[in-house]
Amino acid sequence: MRKESKLIILAFLAPCLIAYIVFMIVPVIAAVGFSFTKWAGMGTVQYIGSNNYYELVRDPSYWVALKNVALILFGGGAIVMLLSLVLTGLLAPGVKGRKIFRAIYFLPVIIPQVVLSIIWAYVYNPTFGLLNQSLDFLGLESLQMIWTGPDLIFTSVLASIVWMTVGMYMIILMSGVDKIPSEYWDSAKIEGAGKAQIFIYITLPLMWDVFAIAITLWGIWTINLFEYIFVFSANQVRPELYTLSILVYIRAFGQWMQPSFRFGYGSAIAVTQLLLVFAFVLGARRILNRRRVEY
């Protein structure tokens, strides 16, 4: 490549690169630095070594948040991927009304999470919420629960998250299905393969790379989950709903009736969150490597 061409390429890349470094890389480095300090967001920055990390390890709220993230990541992820795969299989090319069903399942994805979280908070309200009122209308009062009580609130939120996200991952997986040449299925049908066999032995392996991307995206989104739970909680986020991002916010900025300006401690939690994302992405790439499943 000629030198002039390289310079032109660099000139076009430079603005984005600079913006990326300034707004993404520098804050991450700064956060790592602040994680070793005691700082209220103003005034003096006091270096305290690894004290924030020692406190983090002993902080029960941190482990609750980590547990919740793990439950959403693996438990919720398994349900979302399974449902997405099932829907992908049911809405295979050639199915009547495929486009309509696809649009219906994708609808929650285009509604802002803030709106959905407010709606679901009202649906789950034990007094006047749609869920308990519907159960009452159907004569199923025995199934009415305190959906937002300490025992069930996490499960309730997880269920709404699954409902909200299945459409997105269904579309991602369907894009993987759509790129498979139809000749593979035609050949399989001629050979006498059933629908389930076609899906398991042909469709799934050939869309595996897209599936791996979907899992990776799910992991990153889950580990960084914040706005849905924050808005769902309205007044104060209950400890049962803590995630790592929520905890970073609460410790760094506080919330109503819970003042806390501990930027250093919040940064320490954020650093562990970043490491978790790295670990998940690298682990997912290793485990879901296509060479292991292609034959």
Binding site: G43, Y54, W147, S233, F253, Q258, S260
Partner: protein, 439 residues
Amino acid sequence: MTKFSKLTIIMVTIALAFTMSQVAWAQEKTVVKLWHLFNTGEPLADLYANVVVPGFEAENPEIKIELRAQGRDIVQKIMAGLLSGDFPDVIEDMPSTIHPTLVVNDEALVLNDILDELDYDGKGPFRNRVGDLVWDYLDRWWVGEDGKIEQMVRYMNLLGIGYNGIIFDDLGLTEPRTWTEFLDVSGKIKASGVAPIVMASDVWYYTAMWYAELVMRMNPEAGFYDIAADKSGEAWDMPMYLEAAKIVEDLVKEGYFIKGYEGYAWPSDLIAMTQGKVAMEIGGSWQWMETNQQNPDPNVFEFRFMAFPELEGYPGKVTQLFLDVNSSAILRRTPVVDAAKRLFKYLYTDEIVLAFQTVGKSLPPTPGLPGDKDFPSIYGMRAASTKMIEGYHGVPGLFPDWMTGVFVPENNKLIFGRITAEQFIENMKKGTIEYWKGK
């Protein structure tokens, strides 16, 4: 040049001239930024916008107020504003959030000098706008050891128990003064088919109130403070703390809370109250305003308020009022100190104080003002009061991390019936010791 071009140039010139004239006009006025903790649409937010700002600007034409309704996370916005350069000059917020943020970080202006100046109307020392009982309260909780005053009480809400007067009247009940009377009243309400108690279970300020106020009646001076501040955790060994936990445990076991209470998110509790489904709710006198916003049927609901009962055998009395206070402060970095001070003084004039009393049904800090006719009971309580005690003994402001990281999780387990009183005490002692180890 075409006709269109000429017209465009003329219009752009006029627009620019108008804009510049507005900028010039604005620059002649001193701008004071006033932020408060209410959300747009709340009655007190409307009061600021429709009464405070126009009233002050009319009397001070050289000053313009830039008002912002910042909501309950105002202090987070102030801190962000201090970093970005867009911060207020005068604020209203709660002392439990002002203290650990602005005061501790030296961002609030020291007000000691202003106290000796004349008040807004020039009638007397500004200090006299706040009564003696309130000064005692401020000195006890929010004035530093160095005597610096960095926030002043704007108005006070009482903490206690709001109740439906219609239900009480129908059942022939009177306000209980003692815990025994309270249990008797609760039993009669329950027998009538109405749930005795509700609370907003997603708000720790309410869920923690039962235990905290029991302890504050047992030891009015520092009962709740002691268990937070004692680094050894030995305070938890005192029998009164276990007794208080057992009382809360019994409330749960006896079924005095409405069914499903652990899932009630605010304002479900207010809705249940105003629909007559429940008789009482622990909280504050501000709930007069909040329940009225639900447009209750006056034949079904009438808000009344009573002090938290006394506990037999303990020194706390119903005449010792538990307070939830709102304060105002001036930020130290304000570039318009004189204008900010003038606005600050204006907030303590009789006109504004009475307006907040009328709308918010709060108690003014200024002595000698007439009580609000719609809410005579709390003015009677204030008139009979012998002491004013900061809610939670100031612990949320003094030890915020202990409050929400140690106490609230265990308290919620206790009040939601997940652990026993003994387990609560054991967990709290361990948690308090562990908390102070890291400090």
